[in-house]
Amino acid sequence: MLRLVPPLTLLLFLGPVVAGLAGTLLPAFGYLPALGPGIGVLAPWQALLDYPGIARSLSLTLASGILSTVLALFLAVGICAAFHETRWFVRLRGVLAPLLALPHAALAIGFAFLIAPSGWLARLISPWLTGWDRPPDIASVADPLGLSLTLALAMKETPFLLLLMIAALNQVPAAQMLRVARSLGYGPATAWLKAVLPLVYRQIRLPLYAVLAYGLSTVDMAIILAPGTPPPLAVLVLRWFNDPDLAMRFQAAAGAVLLCGLVVAAILLCRGIETGIARLGIIWAAAGGRGAGWVARILPAVLAGTIGGLALTLSILSMAVLGLWSLAGAWRYPDALPPTVTLEGWMRQADAVAMPLSTTLWLAGAATLAALLLVLGCLEQEQRRGHGLSQRGLWLLYAPLLVPQIGFLFGAQILLVRVGLDGTAIALVWSHLLFVLPYVFLALADPYRALDARYTRTAQCLGAGAFRVFWQVKLPILLRPILIAAAIGFAVSIGQYLPTLFAGAGRYATLTTEAVSLASGANRRVIGIYAFLQGALPFLGFWLALLLPAWLYRHRSGLRGVS
């Protein structure tokens, strides 16, 4: 039975992705039987290229996707290099985990509420500092260059890269390397860049590509923060897929394939740049520059500290402004704070929120549970069989995170229609599972593999069969990491936007789909309620995941160290 879990996982997981890609590729070349006779093979591409503003849309996509990834990587590396040796670096993890849990859409909406001309930041400094009696006429949200989208993406992805880098640091002798380099006279940041970064980079390469792919293909954040005429390619493609004129599907499919091509090209480019930097880095490292002067010592810390601190502050303020708006009475510009606070908005929206809230909860619960069962089955089978996931297997696991969602979800939807599953709860849960499973696996694999194998051996020699060892020894000891992995999966599911739209065939509304579709409106109180709830649920999940084992094992101090 258990032997079937890894292949079953792969099949459930990748089969539909591959089928979905094919289902997007065929219409991109004029073949879509459901729409009657096909059109010319190159006709969709002609239509795509003839679309007015396609060039702007492409440059917007590339600029925001690449720039945000570079920013996030530089910031993450900078923070590690500048602060690795400081006392609070270990505690950074605790700050980053909740930031990671914050859904993309909630952050984007909160960020828009902050930086809009009539946003909180302008209110805080007006009119006494700026002289703005009324909101200034600046396009700070949906700016033509896509800077607000770029910044929000960078803010969202930095904690992800940082957390993975910290995890990678624990697997290499980073502290010793650093100590050796420091004793040879290197300044802290230079020592880190020359001696430690090369060791950890390999392990954050795949996540970095996932960040790049996400930045290039994000839909929900772009709907909220990017300009609309024209929007980035992914949003454009979604619009075409939803166009009442079915013939637009061809053009949409071509756009989706183009987006996949852009992602592949960007990843290859990234790989090329990496190799170049690695070559130069070896020369730089061997040249012996110590970076021990005060500039090299202070500058990285000041830069990383300032920018990192700013990003953290903006993220927290984004969440706070959502809560504030959901509670605000009349909040006129330029009041820094709403003069009255009321629960009236929440009460008025309670009925309307109930339905998407319950859909969000059961969907996230089911996807997380399915992911946990599959991942635990795979890990248990791996331990019994005695060899782990290969590097190639890891790539397969990352595949749904590397392929633009819009690239295969349309094709997968056609497949679902074929088998009569579109718009069903099963299809919906599966579409979320695709993105929940990789994160649950990544979160659980290390703690599961790190559990002392002698516990198992001891239990077996005491007469316990494999099943009993699994239930009575491994699961209870690993309860905390299992629940944390579940909380991560839960948060990932809550953040999903496109899968809900496509697999749900528009029949299911979650907090995320509601928040994104409301975001274009002007009622900040209502948007605030949806976005705040969307942002708060993942926190609740993490809080439970930390609290439950702490309470259950309150008399078992031996388990406090297991994380």
Partner: protein
């Protein structure tokens, strides 16, 4: 002759490198054999082979007979071979009593009877009244004794010791060593022990010295 433990032609490889070449051994009830040799020679792996928990990176052949019954192809949980490691490996999520209960066979169903056996074991370990304690709050010596009692409650036919005294300080080590061998002798258990220290071996027992068959990967000069 009936032997508590009999090993017939046991050979062990790591990948394709031979570790142990034809080991034969017979141990009567209550007898103790001590396995010695340099690290990496395959001592602990041999114990794992006996338990049936050998890592798949290893390959083994030969037979393990417990009281003349061939257990080589049995699952670990059906072999009735108990093993004690350097660490006590008490399950951190269970109380002391819960750990002992884990060792006690499920075939003993009556709750009062189970409780009585656990209390009895605690008295034997000089730890009466400790059933509800968190194992993390015990001293090193107490934890080691609970680990042995948990093992003995599972009613094994053979006791394996994998450097069980290595982490205890000198005074504790001596007392725990007596505790282990006294209990084994009282139950007439054959004992196979792996150790680095010849002082751990009780008088009159067999001593088997394993030598390295292949050059050590660490490059430390071991005799071929």
């Amino acid at each position: 002759m009936t032997a508590g433990l009999r090993l017939c032609g046991v050979r062990l490889w790591l990948q394709d490198a031979p570790l142990i070449e034809r080991l034969d051994l017979a141990l009567g009830a209550g007898e103790v054999a001590t396995l010695m040799g340099p690290s990496g020679v395959g001592k602990s792996s041999l114990l794992a082979f006996l338990c049936g928990t050998l890592d798949p990176a290893f390959r083994a052949e030969g037979q393990v007979l417990i009281e003349d019954r061939d257990v080589t192809s049995l699952a670990p949980e059906h072999r009735r071979i108990g093993i004690l490691f350097q660490d006590d490996l008490l399950f951190p999520h269970l109380s002391v009593g819960g750990n002992l209960g884990f060792g006690l066979p499920a075939s003993l169903r009556d709750r009062a009877a189970r409780r009585a056996r656990i209390d009895e074991a605690l008295v034997e370990a000089d730890m009466a009244g400790f059933a509800d304690r968190d194992p993390a709050t015990l001293s090193g010596g107490q934890r080691a004794r609970v680990a042995l009692m948990r093992l003995l409650l599972s009613d094994p036919k053979l006791l394996l010791l994998d450097e069980p005294f290595g982490k205890l300080d000198a005074d504790l080590r001596e007392r725990f060593r007596h505790f282990v061998f006294d209990h084994a002798a009282r139950r007439k258990l054959p004992v196979l022990m792996v150790t680095h220290d010849i002082q751990d071996a009780p008088e009159g027992g067999q001593v088997i010295r394993l030598e390295s068959l292949t050059p050590s990967p660490n490059g430390i000069g071991l005799r071929r």
